[in-house]
Amino acid sequence: MNDMNKERLYEVYLASLKSGVEDIPESEMQEINLPEDENFSFEDNRVVFTEAEGNIIVVEAGKYEIWCLILEDAPNGMYKAFKISPFTAFASEYDLLIRAGSSIYLLEMDNSFLLSSDEVREGIPISAVDEEVFIAIKAQLQQSRAQASLKNTDLKHPDNLFRILEHEQTLGLRSRQVSAPLWIPQISLQYEREAAAVIPAAAADIGVAGAFEVLRRQQDENVYFAKEYTLHKNERHELILSPDQGYVSQKAEVRCGDIVVFRGILPESLILASFLPVSTLKAQRFLDINLKTIKE
């Protein structure tokens, strides 16, 4: 799809996220005229719904309608679900294209969350994947994702804006899983696609002498102190944000630049990245992290 059509499709996508002010008066409605002498015929392609797993449902979460595939049971009567989207033209290396009935959807492998059984029951079922596709999806989710062939790190490009908005819709739901790494666009869409371009030192060859220097400084570079939180790395090299004690259990937002990456009750710590081989100071500068409490 060329860039102009992609821009137009992005407009349609944006419009799908917003409700109009009110229904259009009947007099202003576009007439639905059909071609003469046309008839209709349909494929007998009924989808088979299960109790929950494999169903595609639409749930309401705040101001958004979230389309998702129910994957499996999770502890405490919850279900693990993956965000899906009808906008297949925006698919990237983080997605699967899946068939459900006569439709193709995009399944976002990096956009999963937990739903309660009530939320699943109240959701509107709109399709279901068949057993063969369901097994293939589960297998793909176990594998590491494909390497990106495109190096699109421009966060203002429609492809990346789409991805950011898809994650914004599920932010509240994803924030329920405090032990999972946060989704941070600067990491997923920039660093993981072209590390050297976004953090030059990250991929530079520092040489043997440089390595000793790094070891000397490592103690200092593994911690970054801000007024509201501390950034540090644990033994698994995960980048951790630990809010100061006064912020723990408060409702807050964590932003990277102007993008909210967490909104909810602050736990003792949040995982920002599974692996980011730069100092915490560089991570702070690159991600431009800030934390603030929010009122109910």
Binding site: M1, N2, N5, K6, R8, L9, E11, V12, A15, S16, S19, G20, V21, D23, I24, E26, E28, M29, Q30, I32, N33, L34, P35, E38, N39, F40, S41, F42, E43, N45, R46, F49, V58, P86, F87, T88, A89, A91, S92, E93, D95, L96, L97, I98, R99, G101, S102, S103, I104, I124, I126, S127, E132, V133, A136, Q140, R145, A146, Q147, S149
Partner: protein, 261 residues
């Protein structure tokens, strides 16, 4: 529920349900078809969908697609996808009071319409088959799309109709007669066309005409899928208006009625 046209929204919901219960009714009951159109019109102009619908109309206008074709494809896609979940809708119909069910049906239609509008928009952008190789595709082994589904792909439909027009305008009657014989000879009733030609000649004529069809498609950049759609859906219509010629030779002939499969 409010009044729409001369019918209440509940009346429209019931008509839509009638169509889902027996889609053939759309081709023989004008009133039900009109009510289904009114139902779709109302859902498209709801708060949730009107902005996307307007953008899709604008895109169709810019890319010179016919609005009637767009409506036809939209309605076909909607009904196809709703039919696929009929078992779930049936269980909700049993579970809910009629008015509650009508609201549920409205909400579901509105959601499914988003997928239909997106499909139309992506098809008009003509991006299909341009998926980057890095994507993992788990659409299943059976990626075959039936012609019933393809007929609601607005881009393929436009190409198939263009092919129909090209043949109608530019082909000689005796060439179309061969194509019709090719189509009709596969049917139970057979074909009265080319009855005076030998079997070998018929074979050669079929081959030559198929080559010409292929050439016409290449000249006008018509996809193979659209070609199949033309043969499945529109060739029969051309044949019904094409006189039955017993031979390919150019000579006076007696017009008889067109063959029918």
């Amino acid at each position: 529920m409010g009044k729409m046209y001369e019918h209440s929204l509940s009346d429209l919901a019931e008509a839509f349900w009638r169509a889902l219960s027996n889609p053939d009714v759309l081709d023989r009951d004008r009133t039900t078809l009109d009510m289904v159109k009114a139902w779709m019109r109302t859902c498209l102009h709801s708060k949730a969908r009107v902005a996307q619908f307007k953008l899709v109309l604008e895109l169709a206008r810019q890319q010179q697609y016919s609005f009637n074709d767009l409506n036809y494809c939209l309605m076909g896609l909607l009904l196809q996808k709703m039919l696929e979940i009929k078992s779930k809708l049936e269980s909700k119909r049993m579970e809910y009071e009629p008015e509650h069910f009508h609201r549920y049906l409205f909400k579901t239609t509105s959601i499914i319409l988003l997928k239909c509008l997106t499909d139309l928009c992506e098809t008009m952008g003509n991006n299909h088959n341009e998926y980057p190789q890095t994507w993992v595709d788990v659409r299943g082994e059976n990626t075959y799309k039936s012609l019933e589904t393809i007929q609601y792909n607005i881009s393929q439909r436009k190409q198939a109709l263009l092919l129909k027009q090209m043949i109608k305008d530019n082909w000689q009657e005796r060439e179309l007669n061969v194509l019709c014989h090719d189509l009709e000879s596969g049917s139970k009733a057979g074909s009265a066309r080319l009855a005076d030609e030998s079997r070998d000649n018929v074979y050669q004529l079929h081959k030559r005409t198929r080559d010409k069809l292929k050439q016409t498609m290449e000249t006008h950049e018509i996809s193979e899928t659209a070609g199949k759609l033309f043969i499945w859906k529109y060739l029969q219509d051309l044949c019904q208006n094409c006189p039955v010629l017993r031979t390919y030779r150019e000579m006076g002939h007696t017009h008889t009625t067109g063959g029918k499969i």
